[in-house]
């Protein structure tokens, strides 16, 4: 790897670090609010945000690698992103349950 490549990678690592930290900070704040108030709204959004943090991380890495003109690994990242997005699409239509199991979702512990 060239010196420039190492520097760029360091830059990408910093951006990913920052994105992960922001995602964790916001979602944990939502968790604190939701648990303190006993409402599930902030909890739901906090969980969704937490689930999207790794997706954001893949996007950043893909952009960083393509910017670095590392097309092979950039394409690999885009493929991973595609798999993640297809999971989101599939989840929307996956077996809506006829009867909700007693006590499982949306209930305060």
């Amino acid at each position: 790897m060239s010196g420039r490549g190492v520097r760029t990678q360091r830059g990408v690592e910093r951006v990913i670090e920052a994105a992960l930290a922001v995602g964790l900070l916001v979602s944990s704040s939502l968790f604190v609010v939701g648990l303190a108030l006993g409402t599930s709204g902030p909890l739901k959004w906090g969980i969704l945000l937490l689930m999207l943090t790794p997706v954001a991380r893949v996007v950043i890495l893909a952009v960083g690698l393509l910017h670095e003109r590392d097309f092979l690994f950039g394409l690999v990242s885009l493929f991973v992103l595609g798999v993640l997005l297809s999971g989101i699409v599939v989840s929307g239509r996956l077996a809506p349950r006829p009867v909700p199991a007693p006590g499982a979702p949306e209930r305060l512990p």
């Binding site: 964790l24 499982a104 512990p109």
Partner: protein
Amino acid sequence: MIELSPWLLIALGGGAGLVGALLGLGGGIFLVPLLTLALGVPIRAAIAASLISVIATASASSTVNLDRGLVNLRLGMVLEVATSMGGLAGGITAALLAPRHLFLLFGLTLAGMGVIMARRSGRRNVIADTGVDPGRLGGRILEGETPYVYRVRRLPLALGASLVAGAISGLLGLGGGIIKVPVLNAFCGIPIRVAAATSAFMIGVTAAASSFLYFGRGDVAFPLSAAIALGALPGSLLGARLTHRVQARSLKVIMAAVLLIVGAQMALKAR
């Protein structure tokens, strides 16, 4: 589900995050048995909560590991192709399986991993001659003041292990690190600390792939999952910082024992 105190769940998440980040795992391997066997949480809700906690642990420990330059981004991304596809397949399969089959699968996986961990030896993977070309996927690390080079060997095996790890992650709510870390270290030439850091970096994506399926199916119990993830954050930050101070060997032995015992219990519960 019995009433569970948020403080208990936060403490539970903290413990799983701490041990998970310490070993380069997500901590789901401890969470799912504890939630189902000890606290009576339905297995799908436990798996969903575990996946969310795994994401928190992976993201938090990665902020520490990236800073130390321990994460191999390229290798992680290549292996993520396999884990994310496995995660998706596992998540879809789990939606179709009966709870008792999930218990049985979990128990057998745990016990199997326990045997592998117990038998693993501690051989070195690094090359002291820094003039060696690490190749496109390999890398360099500093151990103390000494630089080392490592090359990635048997990439197809690493990809295969990642696919299995992903599928198990989606099926059982684990990160899958428990499969990847030993394989990457024992067979693919990757130093244990890089293997753990890169695995921890990957499992966030693996768990995210299947967590969407559980979320869409309505299996996510919000307060349960939020409390555990909230505890997992400080736990995993602490664990990632402690990782180089603990004797890896003693941790592995303890872990192998825990895996065998919990695995047997889970499998018995399936009967």
